[in-house]
Amino acid sequence: MMATQNQYQWRRDKDGLGVWDHRGKVAVAGYGHSPVDRRWDERSMDQTLGAYTILACKLAMEDAGVTPAQIDGIICCDSHIAGGSGGTASNWAPRPYFDPPYDSELGLTLINGEWLAKVMELPNVKFAPTGVPTIGEMMGMAAQAVADGKCNTCLVIYPTGNLEGRYRRGGENAEDYAKGARQWVAPWGNHGGNDFINIFPHNQYCLKYGGTHDDLAPFVINQHRNGLLTPWGYNASHGLEQLTVEDYVTSRYILNPLRLWDCDRPVNASAAYLFTTAERARDMKQPPVYVLNHSQHNFPNRTTQPDLDEIEDWTDRAAKRMFEGAGLGPADVDIFNPYDGYATMTQFYLEAFQWHGVKRGDAFAFYADDIRVEGPHPFSSSGGNLGNGRTRTAMYTDSIQQLRGAAGPRQVTVRAETALAAFVTPSSGGWIMFGKHPS
């Protein structure tokens, strides 16, 4: 039944690739979200990552109006960032497992296509690759797989796990020795993450262009505001109160000047998207949201720590790749949902993509202007990870909803015909461009 496709060459990760051959020929026809919990309590079997993934898939299928027999592809990210340190150290094991289908790690903290096809009784899955990357790249993989005919009606799934204990404190972060790439950073205190990648260039940014760290406050607060307008997100579904400037500027530091509220909240949740051909999508329940391009990047560090010049160069190149493949320019992007899983990096994307004419050094002034969803510059209308929890999916779901005209209280009042979304670091990840129209 399953075709393992580790060798599948699907990436668009080079400069100068031109317009995507399949522009407008693939569409997103459905989405579904599970509840977003802070952690799995390790007891409630209806709240496991597996149960939540099944729920998200059912909702996505229902949204699109497709039956289990129509699903012929499952693209599910294999890495679920759960537990003590993330990655392989994050397993729930070793404990006694439960009755099937929860008689192994699968369904508790790990999900894959094969397990899902079995428990969801999807009889016609012919494409369920392993080695599926995180969502920023996975969305591109899904678009390319449907375009290439690997599958026609595909569930695309991003589970994010979180167990008891402080996030990512186990595994190699608990070790006394540093091997591989960590030998160059861990002795001095860098555990290797998007926080460290961006905090030094962020400091350099403030020095170069003027401004202080807390100039991020209006952006962070607006992310929380948009999050409270997103019913499925963690903040709205847990009745959190609106974050204030006062809360932000008095919050404790993590990596000073990086504050607590610059960081996203790890959660246990799952989301699914239904990708299909543009042709099939037109016969489904919802108005199709077309894929106009996908692009990826993976830039090697020049030295120990990327500096502002390097970050600006990388993000410029990522923007160029995306615009070129979509056949669009900065002025054509209506909805812009860059990644915010650390508030300190979003300005680099905003300026690289020059959304609403924002150039290098302009981001803080832009944040201080009107970026509310109902205003003229509805920046990051999803609320991102900061507003919804670390699902890494809000950027995509909001983009789809905005183009459908179904974003509810977050629906922008400006034109909403194209949307750009990402889960990225400046050095790696992917972007996807959606369109209300196929061209």
Partner: protein, 136 residues
């Protein structure tokens, strides 16, 4: 204050042997006359593997910027919190940078822009790491 201990591999052995000898030795590409740190299998600028050699550098730099780690994730460094993590650019080639905890500089009191020079700190028996101290 135990720091995390680097484990040398085939690519990094010469570098760490140098550090244990209190020398800062970086890769240098003879073809394009540029320094490279951390070491890579080939020159990142011209792609040459054969033209890479090891070169002693002077070990002078400047503090570009810094953060203070107040709530990091590395167990072994928890007792040190809060501690400085500075970004040091190498004077001989400012595109090369290093981390430093700036031994002796109290947290939050980092003199950004100051000159620093390399020093070596023991993190385990027979294992030094390169650190940087403020000069002048």
């Amino acid at each position: 204050m135990p720091k995390i201990i680097p484990v040398a591999d085939e690519l990094s052995k010469t570098f760490w042997d140098g550090v244990n000898d209190k020398r800062l030795i970086l890769q240098h590409c003879a073809a394009c006359d540029r320094l490279q740190y951390p070491p890579k299998p080939a020159c990142q600028f011209c792609g040459s593997g054969e033209k890479l050699e090891w070169k002693d550098v002077e070990g002078k730099g400047h503090i570009s910027t810094y953060i203070v780690i107040e709530d990091g994730r590395l167990n072994r460094r928890m007792p040190d919190q809060p501690y400085n993590l500075a970004l040091i650019t190498l004077d001989e080639d400012t595109s090369v940078n290093f981390y430093s905890n700036l031994p002796g500089v109290p947290p939050y009191e980092v003199p950004v822009g100051s000159a620093v020079e390399v020093m070596f700190e023991e993190v385990a028996p027979d294992q030094l790491i390169h650190e940087w101290k403020v000069v002048g």
